[in-house]
Amino acid sequence: MSRTLLDKLWDAHEVRRDPDGTSLLWVDRHLVHEGSHHAFAKLAERGLDVAEPGLTFGVADHYAPTRRRDRIEDPAIAKMLERLETNTSRHGIRLFGLNDPRQGIVHVLGPEQGLTLPGLSINCGDSHTSTHGAFGALAFGIGATEVAHVLATQTVRAQKPKSMRILVKGALGAGVSAKDIALHWIAELGTSGATGHAVEYAGDAIEALSMEGRMTLCNLSIEGGARFGMVAPDDTTLAYVKGRPFAPKGAAWDRAVAAWRALPSDPDATFDKEVTIDAARIAPTVTWGTTPEQAAPITGTVPDPDALPGGKAEAARSALDYMGLTAGQPLQDVAIDQVFLGSCTNARIEDLRAAATILRGRRARVPGVVSPGSMLVRAAAEAEGLDRVFTEAGLEWVGAGCSMCVGMNGDIVAPGKRCASSTNRNFRGRQGKGARTHLMSPVMVAAAAVTGRLTDARELMEAKA
């Protein structure tokens, strides 16, 4: 019987299945961070050890200060980082801690180190674990009770999701990126459009994406409700993985590649749900509301809630009130107060390069922060001189971490302030209490910085051409 990538990954990790349909899945990689303290506490309550410390990796990211790491002033933040160090060292877990030169956001660091490989099952107590599916891995976010379960047993209990394929056909236009594909499909299908499903992205527009682009797309799957996002491994995947510190070498590499080549969905495999998108129809997209589905092409206007169907109208009215926007207002007229370029969604080297193409030789009209996804991305960017492009434009160049995407480390947007952001959630208060977030791609963030308003980056690209 023909099988999908999801079927193959699920079968390869299923230890057993209960009569009620619950699968017990083996976990190849378990990634923990500061927020995993609840799970370690549960383990301690029961006096249990970590089953596979060698398959468990710790990363300091959610609370990582992006400045002055030698002196953490907030005792609550210092405590979170200390607890991670204590818990990982007590259980013999390798930690990429605050002062490790490889430190970074777990979903940037994992792939960068070759910890993320095709065919693996990967869990982490973070919803954006779907990112790792970009390699053809079975990767999904879990809660603290499940984290404790993985720590204790190296397995996770899960119901197999339904399968869904999003086919993106054709070629993306200039200035249009993986971020725009994601915001586009979520705007079309809604924030629960893929709930209960594992999304496999396919089609020539996906094959043409770099690994960074595929990671951005899989990362945002959860914003459309899908706990899993994935792309079949291909030559692009192998070229990225080869030579990474934790990737197999020599004969092991050859053996692994042979296994990975068998992972793609069979040509005649069928999906529970299928959606086709014409890549050429996707414009640079920005959010105007307080959920990722409240998004529109930058060339458009703030929608009129009265023109929206059913329950969406009231949600839109409430969102416009929070965002301080008026129906019918052109999106490009919306003035911003600041920008943020960072997060597990869009802070890899390619994202920084893309933003720099707009910012090079220009000044930002508003303040902003650039937080690379890892300290290695930071070092690579500095080797290329990208840091100077950002600082000469007037933006602040800081350390790596989740930073202003979630504000746990103290990097927040002030109440009422409007931020053009390369992050993943425009929820109320996400970037700080009362903060107003507009999600967009790195080039769009750069363009907004230059003009001080939401801007079609293509205009600035043309001006340079």
């Binding site: 979170m80 603290a144 629960s192 709930t195 209960g196 296994a259 949600a315 959630r425 109320r428 209490k433």
Partner: protein
């Protein structure tokens, strides 16, 4: 964790869709210890400056009726802790985000998927009503009307028995060990150590 099969309590409506985890508990409270209780942080920013917030107007309510896609967003189990610690035993909504629903069941909180929840929410308005929830029959009785909600067997069993998954799984340690050995033989690179401390970015 104690199981339960019937709950009686007051229901209130939170007339919003897409109630995300950042609204249920803003991130700045998440470094708190669970032992201190998370109930005080529930909907902290939505409640502030809103004298008519449903859970403040009707103190002691234990059933929350809300719009579609409740619990979307992050995997933070703290969102469930905040609801549970504030005394909420069930959330009734047309649909739930997957990770939230799993976290809820793991903490004895019922995520009851009811297609008519938004109509019920509108009928209830700013009032509270006595509600009865029966897990065995998957019914919510409110204002004399019974509504059948969707409850997968696996969730019913967990909620009623108060099962702990770690205990259930540890009954299968032999199977897990055998699986591990096979995995190690077939995909040894899963355990591969890095061969040097070289650092690569990209």
């Amino acid at each position: 964790m104690a199981g339960w099969s019937v709950h009686e309590g007051r229901a209130v409506a939170l007339p919003r869709r897409d109630v995300d985890t950042d609204q249920i508990i803003p991130a700045r409270f998440m470094s708190a210890s669970r032992a201190d209780g998370y109930g005080q942080y529930l909907f902290a920013d939505l409640r502030e400056g809103d004298d008519g917030f449903p859970l403040d107007r009707h103190r002691g309510a234990s059933v929350l009726i809300a719009g579609a896609n409740f619990g979307c967003g992050s995997s933070r189990e703290a969102a469930v802790y905040a609801l549970v610690d504030a005394g909420i035993r069930a959330v009734i909504a047309p649909s739930f985000a997957d990770i939230f629903a799993g976290n809820a069941v793991n903490n004895g909180l019922l995520p009851a998927a009811l297609p008519d929840a938004e109509a019920l929410m509108d009928e209830l308005g700013a009032n509270a009503a006595e509600a009865r929830i029966d897990l065995e029959t998957a019914t919510l009785t409110i204002a004399g009307q019974s509504h059948e909600f969707r409850l997968p067997d696996v969730w019913r069993h967990k909620l009623t028995n108060g099962w702990d998954d770690i205990d259930l799984t540890r009954a299968h340690l032999d199977e897990i060990a055998a699986f591990r050995d096979a995995r190690h033989a077939n995909a040894p690179w899963v355990w591969a150590e890095q061969d040097d401390e070289q650092a690569t970015a990209g």
